[in-house]
Symmetry: C2
Subunit: 410 residues, 2 copies
């Protein structure tokens, strides 16, 4: 154990090019936002910023939902806030599992006491709407919960038709869009999503630590039926809901809505610096334009994939459903995947991703997200990967990858 | 509702002097840390920083506890992580309530399904060890949970003797030190505390959004008996504990310990910018020296109190137990407390605090915390408050307050 009085050196993180499945390098303007002066939580400037953040994320989510706000934690805090606030113990939730983060939804739903039914999809594929409809008919869930982009497999689950199915059967529909938002199309209202949660550390180009969420009016009503305002601040005009008290205080979206709403009822102390970052991420997305940003991600992802294929590497999964912002690529035969990743980091300062579960040791995951969905990042990563693979005597086509990506960009 | 495509102006928060009960102005070095480059969560530099943060907070907490880390959320995320991880449904917890944040502990403990017994103390006083001992004997709790500094009343609960009582009776002892840490003495090992949680946004001089916690070996063992590693990442060598699964994934300290421990088992994606801030807060505290920082808080708090008394204002609560870093002061007769606060903010850019519950409308709360535990902040606040009170025709002694504070500093 180190000496507890040791204060270590001045913070001086190396300049990495983060080309894994996230976190990624933040946009420079987000760094600037993070360093701005703090203000009090009920300062009119601060509550003004909170209102702006709500408006900005309505733009990001393509929604008119009044209940659009931040949960103060990493992306999975947003997931848990939705699931623990919507699902009472014993409630039924249907979860198509297309990868690791589908398992995470199941895990969280189990812990909040829900009855979980899964639709288990082979890794590298997505779930079809008729599978969801059949399961809704037999299982009669309160909620369908999906992941949109599951970085563990790089697949992007189509949501629109499942939204139609849920609407038809009167089932609430939640999606975790952490890894896909701002890099892939996401239209909350048009696709009949009742709840969506996200994070900043992927295509939104910010740090981990803030979870934007949006709730439909119907979903907000379901949650507010469980409202129980905490004893320390409850007043006579507050009426408790008839539903079972939400089993988390921190993730009680009924109270968090009141903190972000006109009553400004005290809950946590808003994480001001992270709110500044979230605000700037959304401004960057909306200023550049949602369609432009998503097209930039698709272009970077496709150029990277073209380069990898030209190098003679094989891509993982059903490419029809590939996320724009991350690609899975098989580690070539007789190559130590972790050694290659280590050399990319130590020699080039480039980070690419390993993988989980059934894919561990079989594929790398390479991301092109947010600020790094740029031609220079794509080309540099391809050149560096080729050089390291040549050094490791992998069976690749030398000199083809960067050219193919440049050709794609042309 | 605003136009969802509106991107608003560039972030430009006003420069406030935050002299309320927190949040406060961060140290300038913390702002610098927040803006540093991001790195990957398993980058050796990042895991090195995580180890440093563990060591640094051992210094802050005065502990040798291996299990010292951050929870990614605001201060109350640390409270909930401890309570939901330690307390199984039905477990008994004894909570002395000296103010609003004691009610919060009860609220969270109720939601995790614990049986809660309170010792209700009049606001402005603290709980005596013999009251705790008598209640332990009759109630036989698994855990005693207290708040150290409860900003709602400005009282600082003495902890050492209650620690002795808990040790004698074999009861776990948890304290929320969010508002008191780094401004008041806190000796985790010496006082036999088994779990402590905190936040950055008070005397540590950082932004809200990260919750340092520490757990004794005994407490970690109790929590690890409930360990259930999530399905997506569970491997054959992982053995589930015999206890009931922790009902939160995000706050599962058994998994969070594994994320911070040598296995580095993936849980959330660490909030890198907030970790940088937390690291810098601890470095500043240890560099200046714990005793020096606490003495600076006591000096600022006492100087402020001397000035307020010289102005002919009355202080709230038992001054023997007053927190160093915040004072409660009665709003003078016939004065609109919120109007005075509003003018302090609009004319001087100075924020002081309102109050909760039984004290609402009766007292202001004025803080001297972290970077703002400085003579210039104390004197400026006294001068500004006096000027506004004179404008409001309050019955005060003009021209005395700043002089009294300067004399105290001399």
């Amino acid at each position: 154990m180190t000496n507890p009085m040791d204060t270590f050196e001045t913070l001086n993180p190396p300049q990495r090019m983060l080309m894994g499945p996230g976190p990624i390098n933040a946009y420079p303007r987000v760094h600037q936002a993070l360093s701005q002066s703090l203000i009090g939580q009920y300062d009119p400037v601060m509550t003004g910023y909170m209102n702006q953040v709500q408006s900005l994320y309505r733009g990001v989510f393509h929604t008119q939902n009044q209940q659009t706000m931040l949960v103060d934690g990493t992306a999975r805090s947003g997931i848990e806030a939705v699931l623990v606030s919507v699902l009472e113990p014993g409630d039924k939730v249907l979860i198509p599992v297309i990868g690791r983060f589908g398992h995470l939804l199941c895990e969280i739903a189990n812990r909040v006491g829900a009855q979980v039914k899964t639709i288990d999809i082979e890794w590298g594929e997505v779930c079809m709407p008729d599978q969801v409809e059949a399961a809704i008919k037999s299982f009669q869930p309160k909620l369908v919960a999906t992941v949109q982009g599951d970085t563990s497999t790089t697949m992007n689950q189509p949501l629109a038709e499942i939204g139609e199915v849920c609407k038809k059967h009167g089932v609430l529909y939640y999606c975790d869009a952490t890894a896909s938002i701002a890099g892939n199309e996401l239209k909350v209202d048009e696709w009949h999503l009742d709840a969506v949660s996200a994070g900043l550390q992927k295509c939104l180009g910010g740090p981990s630590g803030s979870a934007p969420i949006t709730l439909s009016d119907q979903c907000a009503t379901v949650i507010n039926q469980r409202k129980h305002i905490e004893a320390g601040i409850r007043a006579d005009h507050h009426i408790n809901g008839q539903g079972k008290m939400i089993q988390s205080n921190y993730f009680d979206l009924a109270m968090i809505m009141d903190y972000w709403g006109p009553e400004r009822l005290n809950h946590h102390t808003e994480a001001t610096s992270m709110l500044y970052a979230a605000r700037e991420c959304a401004r960057l997305f909306l200023e550049e334009g949602p369609d432009t940003v998503i097209a930039r991600h698709k272009q970077a992802g496709d150029a990277l994939a073209a380069g990898l294929v030209a190098m003679n590497l094989e891509l993982f999964g059903n490419q029809t459903y590939k996320m724009n912002n991350v690609v899975g690529v098989y580690i070539p035969a007789n190559i130590d995947g972790d050694a290659v990743r280590g050399e990319l980091l130590s020699r080039f300062g480039i980070e690419i991703g390993t993988s989980f579960g059934p894919l561990h040791g079989k594929i790398w995951r390479i991301g092109t997200m947010g600020y790094n969905a740029r031609q220079e990042c794509v080309l540099t990563t391809l050149a560096a990967l080729e050089a390291v693979l040549i050094k490791h005597r992998a069976n690749i086509n030398p000199g083809q990858a960067v050219a193919a990506a440049i050709e794609y960009y042309a």
